[in-house]
Symmetry: C2
Subunit: 141 residues, 2 copies
């Protein structure tokens, strides 16, 4: 992995957490991650441990919380100082991150119009991803 820019020291636990989030092909809940890390560690970790890991990784932009799923993913982009836009598939549970392309500006402008100072934003789109659409189409459903 290559995410060590920002002065975050990579401990074995953090290493394992990032690795599991990367391996997963969909967002993991905190307790799912907890179970996997416990298995890896060979002992039962507590909820605070995994929530602290997730907090730390999220603060460094390495992991992201999906608000509408109560779940967490690894951010797949190089620069970790951005806000993500996620496409969340209702069929396969997958989360895809897409490029911003002006949405940030548009949103910031509209917030400004309301006199609102924006510090964070959540943009999550639910629906059906391309692979799942073709799968459904060929069902003849």
């Amino acid at each position: 992995m290559a995410c060590r820019q920002s002065g975050l020291q990579m401990t074995p636990l953090r290493e394992a957490a990032v690795s599991e989030l990367w391996r997963a092909e969909r967002p993991l809940t905190a307790y799912e991650l907890l179970a996997r890390l416990s298995e890896i560690a060979g002992r039962n970790l507590g909820p605070p441990t995994v929530y602290r890991l997730l907090d730390t990784l999220c603060q460094h932009g390495i992991a992201r919380r999906i608000e509408s799923l109560n779940a967490y993913v690894a951010c797949h982009r190089r620069e970790h100082d951005h806000e993500c836009i996620f496409l969340l598939c209702q069929e396969c549970g997958g989360a895809t991150e897409i490029e911003d392309n002006g949405l940030e500006r548009l949103l910031r402008k509209q917030a400004e119009t309301a006199g609102f100072e924006m510090t964070r934003r959540v943009v999550e789109v639910s629906g059906v991803c391309a692979p799942c659409r073709t799968a459904v189409d060929s069902d003849g459903a």
Copy 2:
């Protein structure tokens, strides 16, 4: 109130729930609403009751869930068949709904580019609202 278009029958409980959401000057959690409705009813309602009320109201577009707060607000717009954009103030806890102005189209277009069929979206902006900004400014902080 004037939200009876869509074939939702207004029972006393639903009436009270809508009323409390309107009166509140910020989003209410399910359990906050539960407490208020219990007080109004003069007996203790159970969690399922309030979650069912909220489900129903959300399905009819009368109430909305704020994903990043685990809380609920009454939608303040006439047409209840839209997706909302919320500005959430970190100072006062207030939630303001703003007009869409092309965001929906932009987002749908970008989803389409990814071959994604969009059925729902969440857009929530956190920051500081206009009144709270002026309040902070005049603090000399």
